[in-house]
């Protein structure tokens, strides 16, 4: 029967795979996708904590903190994806590339 540790390890696996993708891929859109993957790993961790560590699923506010936090992470991830992709599109319009190693105007 999967317990808290199973879900936490699964969330950690998603988070670490997203970290690898954000560090090792050159396309800016794929880097943004990896960051979304990391946020999903976080969400799984939060909801797992809510399910297994909440004092009781009652009216006490801290019983829902994990799921509320997950909802806020989803909302902030949507805003961050929109802004990040707007930046990528603006950069593409100027430089005609989205490879992160070719966008180096500010490099010393």
């Amino acid at each position: 029967m999967p317990g808290l540790a199973h879900f936490l390890i699964l969330g950690a696996a998603l988070f670490c795979l997203g970290t690898f993708g954000a560090l090792a891929r050159r396309n800016a859109v794929v880097v943004l996708m990896s960051i979304e993957l990391m946020l999903n790993g976080l969400n799984i961790t939060f909801v797992a904590f809510n399910r297994y560590l909440a004092p009781s699923f009652g009216p006490a506010a801290s019983a829902w903190a994990g799921q509320v936090f997950a909802l806020f992470i989803i909302a902030v991830a949507a805003a961050e994806a929109a802004l990040g992709l707007a930046i990528v599109i603006a950069v593409y319009r100027l430089r005609h590339t989205v490879q992160v190693d070719q966008i180096d105007l500010m490099r010393g």
């Binding site: 670490c16 970290t19 560090l23 993957l37 909801v47 399910r51 707007a86």
Partner: protein
């Protein structure tokens, strides 16, 4: 019987999520990356259902796989690139990234397995929308209003940044 179904569902959707994550970071064609991410996000929604978070699961499907993935696909289609450009960083950087990811995973697993977690074993079998709505409008009303402000700023910023002029 239901324990067996729960265990089987966890492993099936957990495997689908990990396969989706691997495909997102390792696929060569950009559309394949996006489709693997859709698999990972949908599997995460199924896992939320297993964790008695039905409202978060539906919001995940609506917002993440419905809206954010469409946004990512649009961005992929609006930034076409030559296919012979290298998709991944040089081998040294890839090795360092893999090392960072593996060490981080090891640390988190060690922390998870040695922590004295106290656990509730009774799952909730009732809809969570009403208690979540109450919590959002009473205890968490300040973050709720701030998140709407964040979304407004994101909307205006994205419009300004992506304009043609």
């Amino acid at each position: 019987m239901s324990e067996a179904i729960y265990t089987a569902a966890f492993y099936v959707f957990g495997l689908a999520a990990v396969v989706g994550a691997l495909g997102t970071v390792a696929a060569r064609r950009l559309i394949h990356n996006a489709l693997f991410l859709v698999l990972a996000l949908a599997s995460a929604a199924a896992l939320y259902v297993l964790l008695s978070a039905d409202f978060v699961a539906v919001v995940q499907i609506l917002v993440y796989t419905g809206a954010i993935m469409i946004l990512l696909l649009f961005a992929l289609m609006l930034t076409p690139q030559q296919v012979e450009l290298p998709a991944t960083a040089p081998a040294g950087q890839q090795l360092a990234a893999a090392l960072v990811a593996v060490v981080l995973f090891g640390l988190i697993v060690a922390a998870v397995l040695t922590g004295p977690w106290r656990q509730a074993v009774v799952p909730l079998n009732a809809p969570t929308s009403a208690p979540l709505g109450t919590a959002l409008l009473t205890t968490y009303v300040f973050p709720f209003e701030l998140v709407s402000l964040v979304l407004l700023v994101g909307l205006i910023g994205a419009l300004l940044l992506a304009r043609e002029s």
